[in-house]
Amino acid sequence: MKRAKANGVLDLDDALWERVMEATDGAVAPCFQCGVCTATCPWGLVRQEPVNVRQLMHRAQLGIEQEDGAMWWCTTCRACEMQCPRGVPIADVMLALRGLAWKDRRAPEGLAPVMWALYWDNNPWRRPPSQRSRWAKGLDIKAFEPGDDILYYVGCTASYDARTQKVARALVALFREAEVAFGTLGEDEPCCGDAAYGLGQQDYVRRIVEANVELFAQRGVQTLVTTSPHCYDMFRNQYPAEAGLQPLHYSQYLASLIEDGRLHFERPFEARVTFHDPCYLARRNEATEAPRRVLSAIPGLELVEMARSGEGTLCCGGGGGRMWMETQAGERFADLRVQEAAGTGAELLVTTCPHCVACLEDAVKVTGRDLRIVDLAELAAAALGLETTAPRPEQAARSPK
């Protein structure tokens, strides 16, 4: 529904402007078009034309329909917000515009099925809900009880993705090593709603949050430790404070266990490592210290920082619902990131987010770099010599190779 230009003058839609203001809570108003956002956006590193964030904001201010799919490129990494002189919550504006696009039936193909998956299957990956706790088979993890130290909130990706299940198993081993009283919600664990949030389905997120708050209250959940920074971000920022939830990302919890002396590393783990800060920890929640405290507690590790570290981290490309959208080869931030990591001479690129792991491992495959991606939990468990492999079912004879 493009506005027609009459006599070369653009027709401004006041009603649209109202919708945008309401959807962004007026957040779009202070933008004064300086363009620093466009300059900062990592898309400028991989595309000929950077994503014109400034123009997007301007069109939103004027109430002009967004023409192309530009708002869908945003990974909500907030690099732009760090530089914005007016403190405009640019990522929120992007998500608000996405919400409006859904209402106008202009969301890209392939995204409605993700919402349906959340609705029917309680996870964005279309995996059967009855198989949510399969990853824990043989680990004898008990159901969460209100007296426990923490609820281990596994998350959809850790529950269903074979690669991320390794992180979950590592965390279980670490919790047991530290004698943490913990349990999970098993098959009843609800999806935190991050996929709906990242794709701009604000109305749906509201309902997910409401239902989950009630469930957590019924189960007596207070402190929850998440595998993914995305789940952490949801619980910390999208769930109401009155719910009394105390979310922690596992890196923060591990750091506190180390501080409390419940986890200590004696054996050296000799390796040169560099650390990739997930946006959803570093910039969105100012959580850069905890993973480094964990790393520094492991003797033998040599941590070499990349130039873009901490709050300056380079997004892996997976946030803002981008895990469910295709990014063309040659335009992936992760390719640049593994290049940067390799440049430090590190053998291991450590990170603490399932989406980062997926994007970075993909990048290593395609760029052929000699770099291993490892999640912090896996590294810590390995340093302690803990058993983390999955109990495998019996299998018939394999090829003698």
Partner: protein
């Protein structure tokens, strides 16, 4: 047989979408002792192809105006799923719910649904999902068409209406290609799974759909149906035996040996799937 009246394109198209809720296939088991299906612990969802049928109907409404009515036959808990359809954009919903409908095979089911459709009346087009994930017969849509004595188009992936001419054009997917057919309205079309991308809920409609929208509930008596033509009494087929299929889960069967041995063994195992087609 009731249907549209002449070339009244101003009022748009009245489409009736038949839909049902089905248990999630992987959660259905067979009771060891009684050798009967146990769906009691299974979560339910709207049958996938029915969502594609509803999406097709909503797109036709966007193009031509008119209304979309939902019809379901099942237990009272189906009402919730009809309301989800209203939240997607449908206008009204009808539920046929009666013990007498239970245990029906496709003959009795299509007969009952046809009666419900006649009771709704004034339709131009009936859309159904190609088949349902539980029975997977695909027989109900042609059955409904026969009971209503209207033409049918099965396995449609695209459907377009030419309302002034009282025609539809549809693309039917056949193995090795497709054909484009033209049928007069009113008619029945079954829509293939994946034919389109069903829209997610319109949350502006949610409260109305869930709380306020009236869902008309009919019993066999309110439709004046002969109970002998319904449910089990009205079904020529019976289920003689039920078992868990060996292929319910991935087999994860490893084949070993030299590459030649592996190839030979594999071919033996997948013979049925590689026959000339």
């Amino acid at each position: 047989m009731s249907g549209g009246t002449g070339a009244d394109s101003m009022r748009g198209l009245h489409t009736i979408v038949c839909m049902k809720a089905v248990p999630k296939s992987e959660e259905v088991t067979v009771n060891e002792e009684t050798r009967t299906l146990d769906r009691s612990k299974a979560r339910s969802e709207i049958n996938g192809p029915d969502l594609n049928a509803l999406e097709a109907a909503l797109q036709l409404k966007e193009a031509h105006g008119g209304r979309v009515s939902l019809l379901s036959m099942g237990p009272p808990l189906f009402e919730r799923y009809l309301r989800l359809g209203l939240a997607m954009g449908a206008d009204d919903a009808y539920l046929m719910s009666d013990r007498a409908f239970g245990g029906a095979d496709t003959l009795a089911t299509s007969c009952a649904l046809a009666a419900g459709i006649r009771a709704i009346g004034g339709f131009d087009l009936i859309l159904c999902g190609e088949e349902s994930s539980d029975g997977a017969t695909a027989q109900v849509p042609p059955g409904i068409a026969e009971w209503l004595d209207v033409p049918q188009i099965t396995y449609a992936t695209h459907i377009q209406s030419l309302p002034r001419k009282r025609l539809v054009h549809a693309r039917r997917e056949l193995r090795g290609g497709y054909e484009v057919v033209e049928a007069p309205l009113p008619c029945v079309a079954s829509i293939k799974l994946g034919a389109n991308e069903p829209r997610f809920f319109d949350f502006d409609r949610w409260d109305w759909a869930m709380e306020e929208a009236p869902v008309v509930v009919w019993t066999a008596a309110s439709l004046e149906l002969d109970e002998q033509s319904l449910g089990q009494p009205g079904s020529p087929t019976i289920v003689a035996s039920v078992d868990i299929a060996p292929s319910a889960e991935r087999r994860r069967e490893f084949i070993g040996g030299t590459p030649e041995e592996e190839a030979e063994q594999l071919v033996q195992m997948i013979r049925a799937w590689i026959r000339p087609s």
